[in-house]
């Protein structure tokens, strides 16, 4: 069940990016929120997108996931052009995300939440569901098993029958990841996943992201405010400021980049996160 991608991923294929955004421009009226940003997530990598508040990070995320149609530019998932496709289509093609302010299906159990994530991979329709056809029952059982495995994987297997709204904050964050993984994605987008976590939890989170990448064989793209997390988890970091890409490189390069220090740390001084 675990993320078996459509094609095998070997080093030979690593020149095809898992996700590639080409010269993205988004303008809201006269305001250019994202200006000509080119960006890629290599296969099987962990990439961070950082920038001060209002830099256009979430807007950029929303373009990738199909919520906004870019004013110009194209988005590729693997070698498939997904620009302007509807969000559910892009999701089922392998781009899963979590949300900055958790958006679980509150009145559904943890397990049901994960099973919604599997929607596009399940086949049963109205007829086979009403008449409980053998293949439908089989599919449902498999979906239950898969969702349980995923919940175990993120470490909340014990609470699978609890309603999402009753889970603790940390468990809700984990559930969001499990739900996203249920899509069997190629790229996992995490929007400020450590918001509201204490330093110890953030530290565990770094290991968790590595485990997700290695065991589920996905590429991870995160937006993150906590610099200690970003520096520890990322293989590459892209910095946005006022809608423009101002730097890109490994953690050490970014740390010593003058423009980044000026735009991000020096100016707004938001080190340590929003909350």
């Amino acid at each position: 069940m675990s993320a078996a991608p459509a094609e095998p991923r070997s080093d030979a294929l690593s020149d095809v990016d898992a996700l590639h955004a080409d010269n993205i421009v988004i303008a809201f009226g006269g305001l250019v929120a994202v200006n000509d940003v080119t960006f890629n997530v290599p296969e099987h990598s962990i990439v961070s997108l950082i920038g001060p508040n209002g830099a256009g990070k979430t807007t950029f995320f929303n373009v990738l996931t199909g919520l906004y149609r870019p004013t110009a530019g194209r988005v590729y998932l693997g070698d498939r052009d997904v620009t302007g496709r509807s969000p559910h289509k892009i999701a089922s093609l392998g781009l899963a995300r979590t949300f900055q302010n958790i958006r679980l299906f509150n009145l559904m159990t943890a397990e049901e939440n994960v099973m919604v994530g599997m929607h596009s991979h399940l086949r049963s329709g109205i007829g086979s569901t009403v008449f409980a056809m053998p293949w439908q029952r089989h599919e449902e059982r498999r979906a239950h098993d898969t969702s349980r495995d995923l919940l175990e994987f993120v470490g909340i297997g014990k609470v699978r029958n609890e309603y999402a709204r009753n889970l603790s904050y940390g468990d809700q964050r984990r559930l969001e990841v499990a739900r996203a993984l249920a899509l069997n994605p190629r790229v996992l987008l995490l929007d400020e996943p450590t918001a509201g976590m204490n330093p110890q939890e953030s530290g565990q989170f770094v290991d968790f992201v590595h485990r997700v990448r290695d065991e589920k064989r996905v590429s991870v793209l995160l937006i993150e405010h906590d610099m200690s997390v970003v520096m520890r988890v990322s293989e590459r970091i892209t910095v946005l400021d006022r809608g423009e890409r101002i730097a890109e490189g490994g953690p050490d390069e970014i740390r010593s980049n003058d423009r980044v220090v000026e735009a991000y740390l020096g100016k707004s001084g938001t080190r340590g996160g929003k909350r």
């Binding site: 929120a33 209002g54 919520l67 559910h88 289509k89 995300r97 302010n101 569901t129 599919e139």
Partner: protein, 437 residues
Amino acid sequence: MNRAALRPPPGRRLASIGWPLGFAAAIPLLFFFYRYWLTDLNNSGQRFINDWFPLTTLNLCMIWVIMAIGLNVVVGYAGLLDLGYVAFWAIGTYVGAWCMSTFFAQVKFHLGDPTIINKAVGIHISFWLVLVIAGAFCALWGVIIGGPTLRLRSDYLALVTLGFGEIIPQAFTNGDQDHLNGFNLTNGTKGINPVDPIGTGLFSKLKGINPALGAFDLSYKFVVSALIAAFCVFVSLRIRRGRLGRAWLAIREDQLAASMMGVPLVKAKLSAYAVGAVFGGMGGVAYASLVGGAFPNFTFSNSITILLMVVLGGMGNVWGVIIGALLIEWINQTGLKQIGGTFNDHFGTHIDFPSYNFLIFGIILVLMMLFRREGMLPESRTRQILREPARTELEAVGADIEAAESDIEIIEESPDELVASETSGTSGGSGTEGGTS
């Protein structure tokens, strides 16, 4: 081990057996009571039953139950506010009348129907087949109406469905030769009647069952309606537990998140709309058969009454919705008149209670919203959100939790507003982010 996961938790398991059994037992009991045992009662007993629980009311109750179950799929399951559900009722009723009467005298078409003599002109199709036809026809109309409509968000959706709920009955009212270039489609305000009796097929071999159920076989028609209702309950419960039901719930909870998890919004909403329409259509056929015709007396207030049944009974829970429908329709048909009559006799007043029905429903609704917003018999999920505070909302208050205890009360009292502000917050939030940069 696999099976254990499929089994609902103990509380829900009991409910999932108890209610169907109760329903299945109540129907034959009521049937035997009205068909055989009622005549054994003494005079005052008979009069009491005929005054307070007449068979006509019971039959109408069942029709409304079917409607309420259908609307529950749309409103309760998928969370789409539909203020024009009566449209499908009307379509179903007219399909029933077209397919089971001599109205289209220019054609002669018989199908599977032993209840009418072979020479009769018009379309005569067996009631049971007409159920299928009307269901399919309404599903088609559900898709036609829903296709452009369901792309809209909640408030706009409600308004547009309200429009369709007005247009379609109006179209039936005006569908006579004066308006349709000489072709008489619906016979205008005069309506179409009579409608053929219901054929009982093989069951007519059983003792005491007529081969054709006519206008006076009300106890049998009650069973027919109850069977349709049972079918609707079965279908909605099954779908609810499957892949599509989860998608509906997810849309109801957070449609943006649902679409980001690969749920095709329009398709899922359309299927909810279509399933609701099928139930409405089948109920409409049963209604045509019960009243013996199709008349253009479908109004906006019917849509609202069905919605009231769903809300009052407990959105999302078929059993609650059934209770709601039975109660409201009984009050509407018989209860108010009887209670009012007793009241007037007792106090020597002359109040016309039935004419105050909407006033009374309004008061009931306001009281329900104040004291039991989840309805009489809510889904276990809904009961939760209205009775218990959500955990993260408390934890979001964070370290100031003691200081903010008064805020918690506010959160408890207005979960709806919170949800609303959250939903609108995301797009707006990212928009602002773009704006400030």
